[in-house]
């Protein structure tokens, strides 16, 4: 198509449009009214679709909405009261665990332990050592009497521990940590429980047959690990379960030497009463 053709085409269209503008052809008024009326009707429907909730009208269940709303709020508050303490307890236990775990590697080597002061866990230590020991012994006696299976022990130990911790008892390990530690009854588990001062876990592991004097790579027994951390209850428990108070590690150090070096008089006295020399 040439430019001349294009010009002619445009001219033709222009002439047609001029003619069309001069033409008075228009839809009838009735058609125009019908179209506009239909558009208003549809617009109203579309506007309602945009705002499906007519807030100007009262609610159909005006009398009941308050009951529903206040009931929901009440239920939420009740749930918060029930769940809140458990949540708070688990957070607190987690913080305590973190404190304990961070203290273990620093005190683990025997040479360092001798000069380092005993860790202070006042927030979780029992009001009376005797009282907590009685609790451990009673628990042990109960378990012996009832002889629960290993699986049952694992399943029930965590919640039982949690409730005691909430009461400010002697045991300081969180429920999930206890569950983790109790997965496998190995000497390493007993050593960990001894180092962490977890008497209940130690009882469970001993009940499951873990050797009371099982040694680690440095030749340390659970008793030595408990002494190094100043875990009086666990020391008492291990001695009661037949731990050798005179066992020495690879460097020749005994629990009594450890206790004296750490100025742990109660522990040293306990060891001496058990025959340590």
């Amino acid at each position: 198509m040439t430019s001349k053709d294009n010009t002619q085409d445009e001219e033709l269209l222009a002439r047609y449009r001029r003619a069309g503008d001069a033409d008075a052809a228009a839809p009838s008024e009735s058609v125009r009214s019908a179209i506009l009326a239909e558009s208003r009707r549809v617009a109203e429907q579309l506007a309602k679709k945009q705002h499906p909730f007519d807030l100007s009208r009262p609610a159909a269940n005006d009398a009941r909405w308050k009951i529903t709303a206040f009931g929901t709020v009440g239920a939420a508050l009740l749930a918060a009261l029930l769940i809140g303490p458990r949540y708070w307890e688990s957070r607190r236990a987690t913080e305590v665990d973190r404190t304990e775990v961070s203290s273990v590697p620093a005190a683990a080597p025997a040479a360092k332990t001798a000069s380092a002061p005993a860790p202070k866990l006042e927030s979780i230590s029992p009001a009376s050592p005797n009282e907590s020991l009685q609790e451990v012994v009673v628990t042990q006696a109960d378990r012996k009497a009832s002889k629960p299976s290993a699986e049952e022990s694992r399943q029930h130990s965590a919640p039982a521990y949690s409730s005691r911790a909430a009461q400010g008892g002697a045991l300081s390990m969180s429920a999930d940590k206890l569950a983790r530690a109790s997965l496998v009854p190995t000497p390493a588990s007993l050593q960990a429980a001894a180092g962490l001062g977890d008497a209940r876990q130690a009882v469970l592991l001993l009940d499951q047959g873990v050797a009371v004097d099982a040694r680690d790579a440095d030749g340390r027994t659970p008793l030595m690990l408990a002494v190094a951390q100043g875990r009086l209850e666990v020391v008492r428990l291990l001695l009661a379960r037949g731990a050798d108070p005179n066992a020495a590690d690879n460097s020749g150090r005994t629990p009594l030497q450890q206790a004296r070096a750490g100025n742990l008089r109660d522990v040293a006295a306990l060891l001496e009463r058990a025959g340590a020399h």
Binding site: Q8, L12, A19, A26, P27, S28, R32, A43
Partner: protein
């Protein structure tokens, strides 16, 4: 924003949100062009009015689902074209029933057959009229498909591609129809050039 400055597509979207005034403005903007297209396609005032109502009702009722994927005028004139073809088809069937003829299955040839006075008239018949009337008369004498393509371009401002979309034809066919339509119009109107 002032409605007069809004595009067709925005006006349609606003109507889709329930703004009646937006539609009214849109309708006023395209009313005469659509009516002229229909009036000159069917060559009957009453039929054109019926079609006008049908076309705009379809626009109104399609507003809720309208998406501006194409030019509004392309959409509008596609509806207009389809309604016009439907009406011609129905009328032809009714005529066929009256005369005992079978309806032609092909819509395209149907349009040609239905073109009222499809043959070109001698220019002498329009010589007494002024130029505007002559032009409109010349358009009315075009074969139906050429007329439809020409009117979609002239009234709807549609491009060749858009006319092809609106009429369901291919690009080359539409181009050819437009070329023939212009040639015939120039032939009919040479005296007024």
């Amino acid at each position: 924003m002032d409605l007069s400055q809004e595009t067709d597509e925005n006006l349609m979207m606003r109507f889709g949100r329930g703004e009646a005034a937006a539609f009214e403005y849109l309708y006023r903007r395209h009313e005469l062009r659509v009516f002229r297209y229909l009036r000159r396609s069917v060559k009957n005032e009453a039929s054109a009015n019926d079609l006008m109502q049908e076309v705009w009702f379809a626009v109104v009722r399609g507003a809720a689902n309208y998406q501006p994927t194409a030019k509004f005028t392309t959409w509008l004139f596609t509806i207009a074209h389809n309604r016009m073809v439907d009406m011609i088809r129905v009328n032809y069937r009714l005529q066929s029933l009256d005369t005992g003829e079978d309806a032609d299955a092909e819509g395209s040839s149907l349009l040609d057959r239905l073109a009222v006075d499809g043959k070109l008239e001698p220019l002498a018949q329009v010589q007494s009229q002024d130029e505007a009337a002559a032009i409109l008369n010349a358009v009315s004498q075009l074969p139906a498909e050429q007329r439809s393509a020409f009117l979609l371009q002239a009234e709807g401002d549609l491009s060749v591609e858009e006319i092809a979309d609106a009429t369901g034809s291919n690009f080359e066919t539409v181009k050819s129809r437009l070329r023939y339509a212009r040639a015939k119009l120039r032939q009919l109107l040479w005296e007024y050039a």
